[in-house]
Amino acid sequence: MAKQFVKGNEAIVKGAILAGCRAYYGYPITPASEIAHAAAQYMPLVGGTFLQAESEIAAINMVYGAAGTGIRAMTASSSPGFSLKQEGMSYLAGAELPCVVVDVMRGGPGLGNIAPEQGDYNQVVKGGGHGNYKNIVLVPNSAQEMCDLTMLAFELADRYRNPAVVLADGFIGQMMEPVDFPEPVSEFAEKNWAVRGIDKDRLNLISSIELDPDDLERHNKKLQRKYEIIENAETRFEKYRLDDAEFVVVGYGIVSRMIHTAVDQLREEGVKVGMFRPITVSPFPRKQLAELAGHNSIKAFSVIELSNGQMVDDVRLAVNGAKPVEFYGRMGGNVPSIDELVHEIKRMMRVL
C-alpha cells in the first residue's frame, strides 16, 4: 500500500490500527514512549480510544475491560512496566481474552537503565504472573516486523483467545527502516463470547475464577491443549545459511541482525556457520531445534542474548543433550560489536 521510513515503535501503532485495534491504554516509559505518542496521535483520528492510564496496572486492566467487549485493544510498556502488568496478564490469560501487549525491553533488574536488553525473556515467555498459563510471544527484528508481527499478534490473539506479546528491545523500537504497510484488515471473526452490552450477551461472563478444584483443573487442561494447538500451528522461525552448517548460532530480536552479519563474515572466512532465529519464542521452535540437533553435520549450538542467558535454557531443553550448547551474553545495555561476535563464535567453536 505505502512504503514509509518509520521508527519501529511507530510501526507498531500503525500496524495495530491497520489490524483494527481501536483502543490503546498505556503508561509512558522509556524506551517505549513513542508507542504511546503515536497511539495518542492516531487513535483519535480513526475514532479509537487513547487513554494515558494512572498506572501500568490500571492500563492492563483497562485492556481487560476493552478486550472483554470484543474490540481489539492493546497496551505497551518497557521492562519495569511489564513487571507491573503481570497481574493483569494472568487474569487476561485466565479469562482467555485476546489482546496485544508490547514490551520494548530495557536494562534491569530494578530501575536498571533505558538501554536495550533481553532480560525480560523469562518474565514474558515463562509467564511472570501466577498460574499455569502462556502468552503467545512474537519477537521482531526489524521495523517491518514491528508492523507485521503486531498485526499477526492481533490475529493470533483473536484466533486463540489468548494474550499475545510483541517482545522487542530498545534498538528495534528506536531504529528507523522502510516499512511496507499493508491494507487495513477488513474481516474479523465474530466474538460470541464477548460482553457487548446487548441482550444476547447477557449470559456471557468474562472471568478467571473457578472455585471448584475439578472445574479449575478442567479449565487449566483446556488451556494446555490450546497451547499445544498453538505450538503445532503457529511456531515461526527463520533459518539462515544452515544448509551445510556445522555450527548453529541462535538469537532473536536485534541480536539476530548482528548474528546475520557475523555469519556472513565467518562464511567469507570459510567457517561453516549458520543462524537459527526464533520468530515466536512462545511457542518456542523446540521441535525444529531438536531436528537440527539430530543432523550429523551439525556439531554444536551457540546462543547469543542480551541477557544472562534466558532463552538458552529453552534451546538446551530442545537440543536435550544431543549436541553441546554454548552461550554468550552481554548485559546492562551493552551490545556486542560484530567483531566481538565473530571472536566469540570462534572461541565457542574452539571449546568443542
Partner: protein
C-alpha cells in the same frame, strides 16, 4: 414499587445456574448481610429504567466476587481493586451501555485506591457502589481501611490504633473533593427507612449514567454480622449506633442537574480513510530507479555526529529516506543507551543493495563530524580508505589520520552566509550527493520538497544543497 423490593427482579437470573452446589435459588451471602439488599435495590432500578439488557456489571474481589451469579446482565469479574479500570475499558468501548462497578472496602479503598481515584477524577461515566462494612468479610474478618479505631478484627486483635494503622478512610468525602464526579452520597442499610433512602440514591446513581451525566459514587454502610460476630439485629443496631457516627450520611456532592450530558459517541473512521489518517499515502514522485545515476560504491556505513540542534539525526533520516527511494536497503538508528555518554548526539546510517544485518555502525565508511568532540571520538573508528567530512568552520583541529580521505567543509560558515546556521546539515547532504556514488542529485532534489513542505524553507535548503553539491563535485573531480 415496594413489592418489587421484596420480590426477585427481572434483572436477576431466575435460577442461579452459575452458583456451584445444589442451592441455585438463594444467594451465597450470610443471613443479615447487606449485599443482598443492595443487589435487590440495584436490580430493581435496572428493571424500572429498562436498562438491564444493556447493563455490564463488574464484580470485584471480596464477598461480592460472585455478583455475576445473580445479575442478569453482561458480567465481568475483575482483579482485586481494578474494577474501575476494567469498567473504564468497558465504558470507553461501549458508551451506550450502563456500566456498574460494585466494590467492597478492601477492594476500593485499599488495594484499588489508585484506580477509583483516577476513574473518578477522569469523570468516567460509571456508577460505582462502594460497600463499606468496616471489615474484610470474605478473607476472614481482617482490618479494612474503614475499620474503626478500637475495632477488633483478625489482624487488629487488640483493636485498631491510630498509631499503627491510622484513621479510617472516608471515601465519599475524598471522591466528593474531586472536580469531575457529579454525584456522591453516603447511605446505610440499617432499617426500612434507611433502605428507602439508599434505594433513592441507587436509582439516582443509575439514572445519572442513563442521562450521560458522568461519575456517580454511592457509599453504602452495610452489615457484616459474621465478620462483626453479631446477630443480624445487633449488626443493624451497630451501624446506627457506631458506624454511622464515623461515616456521616448525606449527599456530599450533586451537580448532576447542572452539568450537560457527556458526548460519548464514537466516530469510527471508515476503513478506506484509515491509511490516510495514518499518513500512509504514497507520494507521487514516480521515480524511475533504472534511470538513476548511482555509482559502484553503494554499500555505506555512515556515522553522523555533532551537538544536539545541528540536525545530525535529521541528516541521517534524510539520507535514509533518499536511499529508500533509490530502492536501496537502509537503516537508521540514533545514539542510544550507553553510546549517549560523552555529550555528542549521533546516528548510524546504513545503505546497501543487499539486506542490512546489524544496523549499528562501528566502523564507518564515512564519518560526518559536526563538532570537535565527535571528530575526536570517532576518527579512529573510520575504516582505512574511508572519508571524514568535518566542519572546519567549527572544528579547530584536523583529523590526524592519513589513510582516510580528509574532507574539510565549512558547512556552518556556508549556512551562515546563506542566512541560517541550522541548514549546515543540508550543505553536507549536497557534498555527499556531489562526491559519493550512492546519492543521485536529481533524486535528492525531488525528495527535498517532501522533507521541507514550507516554501520559504524549501528555497533556502535547495540553495544550501546546491552549494554543497558544487563543493562535492569539485572533490570528485
Amino acid at each position: 414499587m415496594s413489592v418489587k423490593i421484596l420480590g426477585k427482579s427481572d434483572s436477576f437470573y431466575d435460577v442461579y445456574e452459575r452458583r456451584p452446589g445444589t442451592n441455585k435459588k438463594q444467594t451465597h451471602y450470610c443471613p443479615g448481610c447487606g449485599h443482598g439488599i443492595l443487589h435487590k435495590l440495584i436490580g430493581e432500578a435496572l428493571n424500572d429504567y429498562q436498562v438491564a439488557e444493556k447493563t455490564v456489571f463488574v464484580s470485584p474481589v471480596g464477598c461480592s466476587v460472585f455478583a455475576y451469579y445473580y445479575f442478569n446482565a453482561g458480567n465481568f469479574q475483575a482483579a482485586h481493586g481494578r474494577a474501575p479500570a476494567v469498567a473504564t475499558g468497558i465504558k470507553r468501548s461501549l458508551p451506550e451501555s450502563i456500566v456498574i462497578s460494585y466494590q467492597g472496602d478492601g477492594d476500593l479503598a485499599a488495594i484499588g485506591g489508585n484506580e477509583i481515584l483516577h476513574a473518578a477524577n477522569r469523570g468516567e461515566a460509571l456508577t460505582v457502589f462502594f460497600v463499606n462494612n468496616a471489615i474484610y468479610g470474605m478473607t476472614g474478618g481482617q482490618m479494612a481501611p474503614t475499620t474503626l479505631i478500637g475495632q477488633k478484627t483478625t489482624t487488629t486483635p487488640y483493636g485498631r490504633t491510630v498509631a499503627n494503622e491510622g484513621f479510617p478512610i472516608k471515601m465519599a468525602e475524598i471522591i466528593a473533593s474531586l472536580e469531575s464526579p457529579v454525584y456522591v452520597e453516603r447511605v446505610m442499610l440499617a432499617d426500612t427507612r434507611s433502605i428507602n433512602a439508599a434505594r433513592k440514591a441507587v436509582r439516582k446513581g443509575i439514572k445519572n449514567q442513563i442521562e450521560k451525566k458522568g461519575f456517580s459514587f454511592i457509599e453504602v454502610l452495610s452489615t457484616c454480622p459474621t465478620g462483626w460476630k453479631m446477630t443480624a439485629p445487633q449488626a443493624e443496631e451497630w451501624i446506627k449506633s457506631t458506624l454511622v457516627k464515623n461515616f456521616p450520611l448525606g449527599v456530599y456532592k450533586d451537580i448532576a442537574e447542572q452539568v450537560e450530558p457527556l458526548n460519548l459517541a464514537k466516530n469510527l473512521a471508515s476503513l478506506e480513510r484509515v491509511p490516510r489518517f495514518l499518513g500512509l499515502v504514497q507520494d507521487r514522485l514516480e521515480l524511475d530507479t533504472s534511470k538513476m545515476k548511482l555509482g559502484e560504491e553503494i554499500d555505506q556505513e555512515i556515522k553522523i555526529a555533532g551537538f544536539g540542534g545541528q540536525g545530525v539525526l535529521s541528516l541521517g533520516v534524510w539520507l535514509s529516506e533518499i536511499g529508500m527511494r533509490e530502492d536501496l536497503k537502509v537503516s537508521w538508528i540514533p545514539s542510544y543507551g550507553p553510546e549517549m555518554r560523552g555529550g555528542t548526539a549521533n546516528c548510524h546510517v546504513k545503505l546497501s543493495r543487499s539486506n542490512i544485518g546489524s544496523p549499528l555502525v562501528t566502523q564507518p565508511t564515512i564519518l560526518i563530524a559536526m563538532n570537535r568532540p565527535s571528530l575526536e571520538k570517532f576518527e579512529d573508528d573510520v575504516i582505512e580508505g574511508g572519508a571524514i567530512i568535518w566542519d572546519n568552520s567549527l572544528i579547530d583541529v584536523a583529523p590526524k589520520r592519513s589513510d582516510i580521505r580528509n574532507i574539510p567543509i565549512p558547512s556552518t560558515q556556508i549556512a551562515k552566509e546563506l542566512g541560517n546556521t541550522k541548514i549546515s546539515n543540508v550543505v553536507v547532504l549536497g557534498v555527499l550527493a556531489g562526491f559519493t556514488d550512492f546519492l543521485d542529485p536529481d533524486v535528492v532534489q525531488r525528495v527535498l520538497p517532501i522533507i521541507f513542505k514550507k516554501k520559504h524553507l524549501l528555497e533556502i535548503n535547495l540553495k544550501a544543497f546546491q552549494k554543497g553539491l558544487e563543493l562535492g563535485r569539485d572533490l570528485k573531480n
